[in-house]
Symmetry: C2
Amino acid sequence: MGTRLGKHTVRLDSKPVIQSWAAIVGAKEGHGPLGSYFDEIIEDEYFGEETFEKGESKFLRETFGKILSKGEVSTGDIQYIFAGDLLNQCIAASFGIRETEIPFYGLYGACSTMAESLSLGSFMVEGGFAERAVCITSSHFCSAEKQFRYPLEFGNQRTPTSQWTVTGSGGVMVGKAGDGPRVTHVTTGKIVDMGITDANDMGTAMAPAACDTITAHFRETNLPLNYYDLIVTGDLGWHGKNICLQLLEENGISVRGFYEDCGVMIYDQQIQKTDCGGSGCACSATVLGGYLLDKLSKRELNKILFVATGALHSPLSLQQGESIPAIAHAVSIEMI
Amino acid sequence: MGTRLGKHTVRLDSKPVIQSWAAIVGAKEGHGPLGSYFDEIIEDEYFGEETFEKGESKFLRETFGKILSKGEVSTGDIQYIFAGDLLNQCIAASFGIRETEIPFYGLYGACSTMAESLSLGSFMVEGGFAERAVCITSSHFCSAEKQFRYPLEFGNQRTPTSQWTVTGSGGVMVGKAGDGPRVTHVTTGKIVDMGITDANDMGTAMAPAACDTITAHFRETNLPLNYYDLIVTGDLGWHGKNICLQLLEENGISVRGFYEDCGVMIYDQQIQKTDCGGSGCACSATVLGGYLLDKLSKRELNKILFVATGALHSPLSLQQGESIPAIAHAVSIEMI
């Protein structure tokens, strides 16, 4: 099953179906331009828990429950969960799904996790190994700032290229049958490292990876550049989006007019003061599980290329003088 | 295309072949009982690098190179790398394979990573999505102590149930054809959390997960309990191994005489003063990529059930009063 089209891309001939999806977000995301598309908006950043990390796990746990209830299935109907997050040792995911009793593969793809999990879940369905898989991720502004940058209490100044980690969780259930949007191609990214070392400029670090994967996708599929209604990257933000557009044009790929970035879409840059826009695993995941799949299911969009991007560094690797390796995975999602 | 035998287990009907394997270890592992089975023993714990973390990445990078050279393939022959490690944000893996230009899926399964990567690599081959995948992981005593417990300079006392993180990297290349050992079943674990909170007693935390996965494997495959020459868990250590044996017997599964644990095998407990034995992603990975696959290829072993175990907590989750969720994935490897 599946037809390999090139080094990065496999066409999924059975076209696994995204049977249900959900997104639960925090207050800032809920008050942003996409607010009406999310399943729930949680004003309390602790989500009733004692710590930010436990709160983040709860976002993931509740989103998982929502995916199942919207898909009208129970845990016994799911063969695999593919999940990961940004926290050290990916505790948001493992504590979030701890009680489900479902076979689980933990992932670390930084902010590319939503595309990584959807790719692997779709492969499991296409290969006939699973009837259904849940692919899910989360991030949290407070837990991420604390872990990757400074404690919130410190009140550090934000640089113009910094981005705002999305608080929330998004995910999907992919399966064999149904009427939903379908996964038609998976283009798996390789690590691209252009030597960027500024931890406050993830967009610049990740844009070359996004460009590499999008270029590979069109080269290997031979699809026309205007095939998709929307090509949407994960969390490059305003600055990274512009770099990505420029790099794509250098590769002869002009997608202006039908290219957007979840990090740009999720906040109102002027009013919400999020500098370059959203980031974090939940950025692309909530825009997918909220806005994009909603638009697809209503046929207001018919074909999208979803390209989540991740920066595979750590605070320690930066302290040790390393640059920021980045990766992007692309998934074609189409109404058929 | 795989036959689902139950909730956890898929039989891989094409029986993907482990085409090559390698293990590079540090001094302590090289001086242990399995020393002669490893491809290289590196006396310098920095491996010529400036930091332990960069040293760990080099272990992984060199092991990756060794897998390719032993398999007589080049990077262009590999469709996917599945890799992960214990470091925050899995930097050993991403920096270790940064230059390969191979499509990459990052994993976080703690010390279960070798079985997780081998499972997913085998699924990709069985599903027809890849000709070959490399499945690899690493760990390092010095980087792990520093991150999970205390700086080495502090010289903390070790508790009797503590284990010694294996320094090294092990991995395999799994592909469609060849004469090597074959992957016949994958049993994917679910999270099991028995409420253990002692970070110096990982064996007790992980044994119930190992028992759960082994029990599911026999229940779902209907194989006789003596089907395997060896059932080998990842890094339960002496204490965890005994608990696992006991728990299995409570489930009516008596495997005494053909059950071993990589954490017990890799060090001489008395002479090497490693308390309960080895641990870390590289524990099961180097015993697999060194000893086990060597024994299989020489037909000194014919059928093994490889069960790597992971503890999915973090220092932060423990500080926040959480117990330790654990997981175990099992892979059947057989000479046919």
